[in-house]
Amino acid sequence: MAERVKTDIGTAAAALDFDAELMLRVKEGDGASFGVLLEKHRSSVVHFLYRMVQNHAVAEELAQEVFLRVYRSRSTYEPTAKFTTWLFRIATHLALNALRDGKNERLQERLDDDTSERPVRQVSDRRPSVEQFLVYQAKLDEVRRAITALPEKQRAAVLMHKYEEMEYSQIAKVLSCSESAVKSLLFRAYETLRARLAHMA
């Protein structure tokens, strides 16, 4: 009977998404499934957090905390939503807390401490020239400043919409608000970004 119930839960989760099924396996004590989830979502979580806090060390530290929380919650995990919704809910919560804690930091400090991005789209197979590099850095700085200037929730919504390609309904679940509220957040955020970045075309 217990096995039957377990199978039913597993089937429902599989219908929901494969990640949820993996998480149910973690719940049953399968450490390898945790490894699969980590491999699959490590980059997107770190990159999302990086774009939120704009500091690599802090982003990786927060991402470690995200996966620690996932692991720690394994025994109480229920696949009531998509796994990534739950994952990004934890990530967003931690990022917003980190931003609130560090509110007194000067914006300049956050932006200047990290110059690890490099031009990845090169116009030819040669290394970019110094001039190209400087142009890229200047554009990048403008993008980063524009994103940083957004209110935190708008920033999270844009990052999930743009880079994670999430649907409005999923972003709404992550941010615990209605779908129409998400649409409104995004509309205002892109309005601000258009005003600041449209000249870059």
Partner: protein
Amino acid sequence: MNCPLETRENAQLLLDYCTRKLEPESVATLERHIAICGACREFARSQRAVWEALDAWQTAPVSADFDSRLYRRIEGQVSWWDVLLRPFRPPFSTATMWRSLPAAAAACLLLMAGVLLEHRAVAPAPAPNDMAQVDSVQPEQVERTLDAMEMLNEFSHHVRTDSPDSKL
């Protein structure tokens, strides 16, 4: 069609169009309007510029030792997590319970014997809270600890076989 920029709700359609999230059937209608509406054309142009600017923002790869650092932290925290999370955990499934019952029973007996000896040696009559603590040493808790140890073995294996090349 009316200009979508006249209302926020319809302007949303234009945004969806620019971010390639509009259903194909609405795309054709909207494109016919954009062809004759300067305001919408400007909206679409500037939104595409934003999209491309955001595209250019690539981030550095994740550190090669990210996983090993994480597994070390998990290893370091597993014992007290188990204690902290004990009250919130649901009971284990009957099947899992039966599989490890002999080990759990043996460990439980050892723990209870230890608790009783300690009480006999130093403690006066136990307060109600102490009793609750003694009662809370359950086979499930022992089994969870054994489960966690099993998972740690798997994690250790992961860390050993984890190659930095496997990551981005």
